[in-house]
């Protein structure tokens, strides 16, 4: 029983980190209709930057998020302006291929700078655990999960309580209308892309502490994040959080009770099943599509 509770708690903590990264992905999709295949690559990039800050400058990896996230934000903004903006109005198929290309380039860049060997961030508390009753909760995972929830909360406040958040949501619902009331769609899109990428960056900085990583790990990440977003419903932030938590728990449970090697595969089976029964995902909605034949 304790074992089950422990796995559940670990799954929830992991889900928090997934939610952060998947939230960025679903935000970008919701506002721009862009499926950012490079999302996992930005996540791994953040992990490498965190690694350098920790190993080079001795900064605590969880504190380093304060540096990593803004850096990745800028990288995301520049990426948008250079590559995504020129094909902003192209069909979704084009942006999928573009971001796929970007992912490969990023992988190559990381491989060139940091090498293709497995890299791990091991802070002093890496091997310590909190002991609550009969539960052993690794400190890194607890801190990581809490930081993820904190960043996610900030993101949520920005989206729902600020003018920027309203502008973003307006752009998502009706780009032409948003433009008419004075919102600069291009600027909002750049900001959203950068915020989405930064969320992935924050998630990457945290997972870098939890697991070792290589540049090529971004494929696994994008597959996982896309699965989460589909599960929750494309473009729905709440859906992404729900999907992430379910995914995190499912992965942890599979690793504990089935076999660690299948842990990466089983959650996809869940996603397939969800799509069979409910193609729009758990919290997704079918959009009204008669008004603007985009």
């Amino acid at each position: 029983m304790e074992q089950l509770v422990q796995n559940l708690v670990l799954g929830l903590l992991l889900g928090g980190v997934y939610a952060l990264a998947a939230g960025g992905l679903t935000l970008i999709f919701g506002v721009m209709r862009v499926i950012n295949i490079a999302h996992g690559a930005f996540l791994i990039l953040a992990a490498f930057i965190t690694y350098s800050l920790w190993s080079g400058l001795g900064i605590d990896p969880l504190l380093a998020i304060v540096i990593t996230t803004p850096v990745i934000f800028v990288v995301g903004w520049v990426t948008y302006k250079l590559f995504v903006a020129p094909i902003r109005t192209a069909p979704m198929a084009s942006t999928v291929l573009l971001t796929f290309g970007l992912a490969l380039v990023l992988e190559a860049v990381m491989g060139t700078i940091w090498g293709n060997n497995s890299t791990a961030i091991r802070p002093a508390y890496g091997n310590e655990s909190f002991i609550v009753g009969d539960l052993f909760l690794p400190k890194a995972q607890v801190y990581g999960g809490l930081v993820a929830v904190l960043v996610l909360a900030v993101l949520w406040v920005v989206l729902t309580k600020t003018w920027l958040g309203r502008a973003i949501r307006a752009s998502a619902v009706n780009p032409a209308g948003a433009e008419l009331v004075g919102i600069k769609i291009g600027s909002v899109a750049a900001l959203v892309f950068a915020i989405g990428i930064a969320a992935a960056g924050a998630g990457g900085a945290i997972t870098g502490i939890l697991y070792p990583f290589v540049p090529g790990a971004h494929y696994q990440w994008i597959a996982r994040l896309l699965a989460i977003v589909v599960l929750g419903g494309m473009g729905s932030l709440n859906g992404a959080v729900l999907g992430a938590v379910l995914f995190g728990v499912a992965e942890t449970m599979t690793a504990a009770y089935v076999s660690p090697s299948w842990a990466t595969a089983v959650p996809y089976a869940i996603v397939f099943a969800v799509l069979l029964i409910r193609p729009q995902g758990l919290l997704g909605s079918r959009l009204r599509e008669d008004a603007v034949p985009a």
Binding site: L97, F100, A103, L104, V105, A265, D290
Partner: protein, 625 residues
């Protein structure tokens, strides 16, 4: 030779023919095919033979991908996984049954790939949108995990070693080489055939405008899933030959993500939705891949190369090489000649004089019954009641009008009738059958044809293709019917002649003016041979002469027994044409009657002008009427 001889008396025509992209393309293709067939005989350089063999594998992969991505517009990033599946099919079967000839497993691999595609398609292609591309990414990753972990079947990371080829070492590569050439030929034949059939037209229509495609009878999920299956079957076979050629298969090699990248890149660079583009692309990219691998250090260089090329192609060469070259040649060839787009619209003739498929019906023979009976139709968008408990009937053989102020729900009613939007509740009885709850294409098959207020033709298709894309019913036989020539095309041309647009048959629809598009859309709907034609503002935004012609055509079609339901704001047009007229206000029918009754109904005038409308605020409402 024949062509040259017959062209001799007309040198001008001949020169333009030989410089036309079509003939240049054919000559290049013939030359390429000859070279490809003779190559192993001419050279036994193993390095280049290997390169050509790999190019062939990628050419099949890219050409297959072309069906789902180029035609139907659904990007798959998991195409490489089907090569891997093919390889593993032959690997597993050949090691299990060492006494059977491994070549036997090549077609089996095609079937396995097709079955997997069927399942994936069923999961992700029933809805539209991004699920498909996402599922393909997940699949690419998942299949590698399965190959690693299902050790009893795949021998895990240790891989499988196939029986070595038994034939003469001198010609060791020949069987692989020619098997791949045959598979590529079959793949290209299939692509060529699909492009000419109703099936292919349907796929391109889906790419251009999926919502609209559904309303002209295209059964979306079925066609998309079929396209995905078609795009993988030969790829699975090529994968099997590839696996046998390598004689060793493991998860990292067979399910490498870079295989998928290379396939996608080949298709993009060569040109989507073209026959030869994917082949050209594959033969360009594979040598680059070899150079990057052997001379530039592989690994990260290959990633830079592929990733960078992908980004550059998407931004700077979105249509691919072949279409770019083709439009360049076409521009040179037609320089100085007037375009067709400004040509006058034909005056048309009566449809009965163009075809014997229609004849004037005797009015007294038309049964006195409603063809369409709508009861309690309701649709809410959040708190907005767009259509609220709306009921009306359309008598058979009538031209019924549907009018109402802006925002009264007319277009939404049309959308609900054709299931472009799903109604919240209400029943739709058409021709004695319940239609509510059925998808748009079934309604089109039942005899419901609908035009859009803002015309929705398939922009990249020609006028003729737009008309022949229509599917009157669903059957496998019909999907395979050749659409671009023969009976279908002849019927489409009659309708185009009727609306006066025949001269434009080979123009792309996006090049037409709004009025011209309206006429083509009418011809397109008539191709459905509908019992009831729903016209959304047929007279909106076109000149008075054309409005008059539109009215004539509607009356003529009505005399052949076609029933109409027309939404229109042009009151003289509606009052002169329609009887009865239904008036919609706030999402429900508020009045029904003859034009005279409607014109005199104070409630109707009130609804149009608003109950706070007064010439002067102090005047009583009566003054208005």
């Amino acid at each position: 030779m024949n062509a040259a001889a017959s062209a001799a008396p007309a040198p001008a025509a001949a020169s333009s023919r030989w410089t036309s992209p079509l003939w240049i393309g054919r000559a290049v293709a013939a030359l390429g095919a000859a070279l490809l067939l003779l190559y192993p005989v001419l050279s036994d350089d193993a390095y280049y033979q290997n390169m050509v063999i790999l190019s062939l594998v990628f050419a099949v992969g890219a050409s297959g991908l072309n069906v789902i991505t180029g035609f139907a517009g659904y990007v798959s990033l998991g195409q490489g996984a089907f090569i891997g599946l093919g390889g593993y099919t032959i690997g597993v079967l050949a090691t299990r049954f060492p006494d059977t000839n491994p070549w036997l497993w090549v077609p089996v691999a095609g079937v396995v790939a097709a079955l997997v595609a069927l399942v994936l398609g069923f999961v992700s292609l029933r809805s539209r949108g991004p699920s498909f591309v996402i599922i393909t990414v997940a699949f690419l990753f998942l299949v590698q995990v399965v190959a690693v972990n299902w050790v009893s079947l795949t021998n895990g990371t240790a891989g499988l070693t196939l029986p070595l080829p038994t034939w003469d070492r001198e010609i060791i590569n020949w069987p692989f080489y020619y098997a791949l050439v045959v598979i590529l030929a079959l793949q290209l034949l299939m692509t060529w055939w699909i492009r000419r059939t109703k099936f292919g037209m349907g796929l391109i229509a889906i790419r251009e405008d999926e919502t609209k495609a559904a309303t002209i009878g295209i059964a979306l999920p079925t066609e998309k899933i079929l396209a995905f299956v078609a795009s993988t079957v030969f790829v699975g076979m090529a994968g099997a030959v590839y696996g046998y050629y390598l004689t060793f298969i493991d998860p990292r090699g067979m399910f490498s993500i870079l295989i998928s990248v290379q396939i996608v890149l080949s298709l993009l660079i060569g040109g989507k939705a073209t026959l030869w583009g994917p082949v050209v692309g594959a033969f360009l990219i594979e040598p680059l891949n070899e150079i990057a691998n052997n001379n530039l250090g592989g690994g990260n260089t290959r990633l830079f190369l592929f990733g960078g090329l992908l980004v550059l192609v998407v931004i700077f060469l979105p249509r691919g090489l072949l279409p770019a070259i083709e439009s360049f040649l076409e521009r040179r060839r037609t320089r100085g000649k007037a375009g067709l787009v400004g040509q006058r619209i034909g005056t048309g003739g009566s449809l009965a004089s163009l075809t014997d498929r229609v004849q004037v019906v005797d009015r007294s023979q038309i049964p006195d019954r409603p063809l369409l009976e709508v009861t309690g139709l309701t649709k809410h968008f959040g708190g907005l009641k767009a259509v609220d408990d709306c009921s009306f009937t359309v008598p058979e053989g009538s031209i019924t009008g549907l009018i109402g102020p802006n925002g009264s729900g007319k277009t939404t009613v049309f959308n609900l009738l054709t299931d472009t939007i799903r109604a919240d509740s209400g029943t739709i009885v058409f021709d004695g059958k319940r239609l509510d709850g059925t998808p748009p294409w079934k309604r089109a098959h039942a005899g419901l044809g609908r035009t859009f207020q803002i015309t929705r033709l398939f922009g990249e298709m020609t006028v003729l293709e737009n008309v022949v894309a229509v599917q009157r019913s669903f059957s496998v036989g019909q999907l395979g019917r050749i659409a671009v020539s023969g009976k279908e095309a002849a019927a489409a041309e009659e309708l185009l002649e009727f609306v006066g647009m025949r001269a434009f048959r080979d123009q792309r629809a996006h090049a037409l003016s709004y009025g011209q598009q309206k006429l083509v859309e009418l011809a397109q709907i008539l191709m459905l041979d509908p019992k009831l034609v729903l016209l959304d503002e047929p007279a909106g935004g076109i000149n008075p002469v054309l409005i008059e012609r539109m009215g004539e055509m509607i009356r003529e079609l009505n005399s052949y027994g076609k029933t109409f339901l027309i939404v229109e704001h042009n009151m003289p047009f509606v009052l002169g044409l329609c009887d009865p007229i239904n008036v919609l206000a706030r999402g429900r029918t508020m009045a029904t009657g003859t034009p005279d009754e409607i014109q005199r109904d104070p409630a109707v005038i009130d609804a149009y002008l608003g109950d706070d409308f007064r010439v002067e605020p102090a005047k009583p409402r009566k003054a208005v009427s």
